[in-house]
């Protein structure tokens, strides 16, 4: 669906803008490619620290074991100076914030690592930047079609295609997250540790968002970083992921019992 919508928008741009549309697409595509190459070849700067095995052997060995099982090269591991628990992957690299080590136990951190290895194995770390940069191309094309063409029907069609693109992009990214969880479950010695990790991270975020004001009246959201709100969520919720994990581990469980 995502690729089909993109293709339709490209055809519309070439059809309506003619040579200008073609030039725009080629230039933007080249620009996207250049940004992609730059992003793919540059190393992280700032508060990132490359992890040596002797620093945290259980993490290093755990990642090595899972990488071998997944059939990928041993990823580089970085620690990020940030007190908010977070983990992510890019290229063949895993990043763990120091805050993660404050809120999760060893098995749970390995579960988070397994999810990120899942992204690498499934090719998401190569694909996600392309999707992210292509979004700008879609925005630009839509804007140009709306501004340049005089037909309101064409403008309307282009806007609809853009809306469809945003929805299918969100759906696509969610699917990839579920896919990374699925891969992680196959890599982990204790698959339930991924569920436990997600539950703890959900608890942390709930606490940050002042949900548990009655239990802890002192929590004020002002101490935490401001987060932008998204109109279309590109990440599945913790509950959705936990439910899927439970269903995958216990295929016999009826969904209504879990909800």
């Amino acid at each position: 669906m995502l690729y089909l919508v993109m293709l339709l928008q490209l055809i519309l741009a070439i059809g309506m803008l003619g040579e200008l549309g073609l030039k725009l697409i080629v230039t933007s595509a080249l620009l996207v490619l250049l940004i992609y190459i730059w992003a793919y070849t540059s190393e992280p700067k700032g508060s990132y620290h490359a992890l040596e095995r002797e620093q945290i052997p259980w993490l290093y060995d755990g990642v090595a074991k899972m990488a071998k099982k997944a059939g990928i090269r041993m990823p580089k591991i970085y620690l990020l100076e940030d007190y908010i628990p977070n983990a992510y992957s890019f290229k063949n690299t895993l990043v763990f914030s120091l805050g993660l080590f404050e809120v999760l136990g060893e098995e749970e951190i390995l579960a988070v690592a397994a999810h990120e290895i899942g992204h690498i194995k499934n090719g998401d770390t190569k694909l996600f930047p392309v999707i992210a940069y292509s979004r700008y191309l879609m925005m630009l094309l839509t804007l140009m079609i709306v501004v340049v063409t005089k037909s309101s029907l064409v403008s309307f069609t282009s806007l609809i295609l853009y809306a469809l693109y945003e929805m299918s992009r969100a759906e696509y990214l969610k699917k990839r997250e579920f896919g990374a969880d699925h891969t992680a479950l196959g890599l982990l010695d204790v698959p339930l540790s991924l569920k436990h990790a997600l539950e703890e991270l959900k608890y942390y975020e709930d606490l940050r968002e002042n949900v548990k004001t009655n239990a802890l009246p002192s929590i004020e959201p002002s101490i935490d970083r401001k987060q932008g709100t998204q109109i279309i969520e590109t990440h599945p919720s913790y509950d959705e992921r936990i439910l899927r994990i439970l269903l995958e581990i216990n295929p016999g469980l009826p969904q209504n019992r879990l909800q």
Partner: protein, 121 residues
């Protein structure tokens, strides 16, 4: 840290800090330097249901309040955050008393003077 609230019904530093934050500070004044994990192990004995997340969030909140500071330490066991106190208990209590008296003096100058002089006698 300047206290903005004083609870007349609470004892000690709980009058100016929420209960769990006060407990963390009590422990931190004893330890002076600790990780969130160490504090979690201590608090878990008194609060079996407490979670690592709660301790981490509260310790970072105490950093925001200026009562603790956070540093990265590299050693055995890898990199981690270590928290240390920025003020002694005595300095903190002195600040609390000063802030309260300043507030009383600016709002109820005469009555505060009268009461303090009565106390002196």
């Amino acid at each position: 840290m300047e206290p903005h609230e004083f609870k007349l019904t609470e004892e000690g530093i709980r009058a100016v800090l929420p209960p769990l934050e006060a407990e963390i500070m009590e422990e931190m004044w004893k330890l002076k330097v600790a990780t969130a994990g160490q504090l979690y192990e201590i608090l878990k004995e008194r609060h079996p249901d407490i979670r690592r997340s709660t301790v981490s969030i509260l310790m970072n909140r105490l950093c925001e309040r200026g009562l603790l500071k956070r540093n990265v330490e590299t050693g055995r066991g890898g990199m981690r955050y270590v928290y240390s106190i920025t003020t002694t208990r005595e300095e903190f209590e002195e600040k609390v008393v000063k802030s309260i008296l300043d507030a009383l003096m600016s709002n109820f100058r005469e009555a505060t003077y009268a009461y303090l002089s009565k106390m002196k006698k």
